[in-house]
């Protein structure tokens, strides 16, 4: 061991000698260098974040036709005869259903009814979702029934992608996919948020498919083991205006041994 004639005793003033001070100075400079290099490396090497948006601090009021098959949505006319189906979500990692209960107690079947909904918008890549945090912010605009979106059969397809929770993926979290986010996506989908298959083709074009069982019913708990992993999924694809729906048999999902390539 390299011994030092100086002997530092914390409670004795002046016991910190010159050689020891010089070593401490070098060590402190070394620490600053490590801190600066570390901060630069860890911050510079982050993968780019996407420009998805979650309007956490501002509320937006939307009006449209409610429909709940396969998952609760509001069909909003954004231009003459052009509609956007906005996916309805609850607070945190939960379904919108508890926030519709109050109105459903007054009007049993909300399907086809026009509703006003105020909440926080989430949007990315042409898709819009809304988080509702207060049941009082869901009100009836009028009781007359309006038309629901039509579903057109596309074909049977086999697609590669990743099952994501749309709330985080389309804006609440960055990144809202992959291994780091898997636990959160599991909690969201387990809590009633619809599972969505996100695919990205060679031209970097993404498509999104709301997943249901073969009968078109919502799926949540059974799909949890497959979330956040690159997978191959076969199912019947339908188009519902601005969304695709994919009816699948969960047991047919194949995990792919490769890196996630969605976005």
């Amino acid at each position: 061991m390299k011994k030092n004639d100086e002997f530092y005793v914390p409670y004795i003033d002046g016991s910190l000698g010159k050689k020891t001070k010089a070593t401490l100075k070098k060590f402190t400079i070394g620490v600053f260098v490590i801190i600066i290099i570390g901060a630069l490396l860890f911050s510079f090497t982050q993968k780019p974040f996407k420009n998805s948006t979650f309007e956490l601090t501002s509320a937006t009021k939307i009006t449209g036709t409610f429909h709940e098959s396969p998952y609760p949505m509001l069909r909003v006319e954004i231009a003459k005869n052009t509609y956007k189906n906005i996916l309805l979500l609850g607070f945190g990692k939960s379904s919108v259903n508890p926030f519709l209960k109050k109105l459903q107690n007054e009007i049993k079947d909300l399907n086809g009814k026009t509703l006003h909904i105020e909440g926080n918008l989430i949007y990315y890549n042409g898709k819009t979702l809304i988080q509702i945090t207060d049941e009082e912010k869901v009100t009836l605009a009028n009781t007359s029934k309006t038309e629901k979106p039509l579903k057109e059969l596309v074909s049977k397809m086999t697609l590669q992608g990743e099952i994501i929770d749309p709330k985080c993926y389309f804006g609440v979290m960055k990144p809202g996919k992959g291994k780091i986010h898997r636990s959160c996506a599991v909690r969201c989908i387990s809590g009633g948020i619809p599972p969505v298959l996100a695919t990205t083709d060679k031209n970097n074009m993404s498509q999104y498919f709301l997943l249901t069982d073969l009968k078109g019913n919502p799926i949540n708990s059974d799909i949890l083991p497959y979330i956040g992993k690159p997978s191959e999924i076969t199912g019947i694809v339908e188009k519902m205006e601005d969304w695709f729906i994919m009816k699948i048999n969960i047991s047919g999902i194949k995990e792919l041994n490769k890196k996630s390539s969605i976005y």
Partner: protein, 342 residues
């Protein structure tokens, strides 16, 4: 040394040390935030906080882990060791911010208890690449919490130095968990040769410094001593510097043989405070003074001077010409032994 427990026994050096810790942590977080916002402005505040404090905590842990061996290899580093607990607690705070935000972000506001969710949301325990890495980070955070919350002298005194030391040696288990947490988690998705490289270099630095220290220390314990009528030969008296000691191993216990004022005395090498090496200490005001925190013992009886109550075992020495011999049988802690005069 302190007789009563106080939250922090402040002195000028501790204040400087803590200012450097706070400045370094702020420098890291601010620099990380500026670079991220300048070059990757679409980030979210939560992700920025999670990443900045997580990477800061792991860098701080590497610095903490190299202080011990550095101080063993060069006594100039001892003042850094002296206040290492403040660095440890600061590192825990950084890890807690990372872990707290992550648990809230990924597991709270759901359909189950967030802690239960950490263990059950990803059940791929049989897979390496899909392994639930957050469990590893959570277990490491628990260990760091136990260490940070018992880092005060109150716990050191009440748990005993031996138990406290064993508890705090769990930092190596926490380090292994954190490395696995990062490699099986963040590095699976945010793969960069630079960040993987910096952690590999960090691991090599920590491991090699510990190995070099262990190799040097082993020499003390494996030196064969000549025996003469039940006494073991320690060294020639000239090999011991005035007011300093030679460390010698008898019956698997290290003993510090001190030379002072024309006398020789031997006491057990391990300080009762934190297990510091008394044989690397110095006689100050007639007392053996521990190099780690300045705890003191009288050389002739191994007792801390009143009103302090710490005691260590003592040993009998004899001189044959200029050769120092030791009786390998230790006396009870605090036993008076007449110093050997030369």
């Amino acid at each position: 040394m302190g007789l009563d427990y106080q939250l922090v026994l402040w002195n000028k050096h501790k204040k400087t040390y803590d200012k450097i810790i706070v400045f370094s942590m702020l420098l890291y977080v601010i620099l990380f935030a500026i670079v991220t916002l300048a070059f990757n402005s679409e980030t979210s505040a939560e992700t920025l906080i999670i990443r900045a404090f997580g990477s800061l905590a792991i860098i701080m842990l590497h610095i903490i882990l190299i202080i011990g061996p550095l101080a063993r290899l060069n006594t100039n580093f001892l003042p850094i060791l002296y206040n290492r607990r403040h660095l440890g607690v600061s590192m825990f705070i950084a890890a807690l911010i990372h872990g707290g935000f992550s648990i809230f972000q990924f597991h709270a506001l759901g359909d189950t208890n967030p802690v239960y969710s950490i263990f059950t949301s990803n059940m791929d325990y049989g897979s390496l690449t899909n392994f639930p890495f957050q469990v590893l980070g959570f277990l490491a955070l628990l260990i760091l919490f136990v260490m940070a919350s018992t880092s005060h002298d109150f716990f050191l005194g009440n748990l005993s130095a031996k138990v406290w030391k064993r508890l705090h040696m769990m930092v190596y288990f926490a380090y292994a968990l954190i490395i696995a947490h990062v490699f099986l988690g963040a590095f699976q998705q945010e793969t960069s040769l630079f960040t993987i490289g910096i952690l590999i270099i960090g691991f090599i630095a920590v491991a090699s410094l510990h190995l070099i220290t262990a190799f040097k220390e082993r020499k003390i314990d494996t030196t064969k001593a000549n025996e003469k009528e039940g006494w073991l030969e320690v060294c020639d008296i000239s090999e011991i510097e005035e007011d300093r000691a030679k460390i010698f191993t008898v019956e698997n216990e290290r003993v510090a043989v001190f030379k002072y004022d024309g006398k020789l005395s031997a006491i057990h090498n391990v300080c009762k405070h934190q297990g510091g090496p008394l044989g690397e200490g110095k006689i100050i005001d007639g007392c053996i003074t521990c190099p780690w925190h300045g705890y003191q013992y009288l050389p002739n009886n191994g007792q801390s001077p009143p009103p302090f109550t710490e005691k260590v075992a003592t040993y009998e020495l004899k001189l044959d010409g200029k050769t120092v011999y030791i009786n390998p049988k230790a006396f009870d802690e605090g036993t008076e032994v007449k110093p050997c005069k030369y």
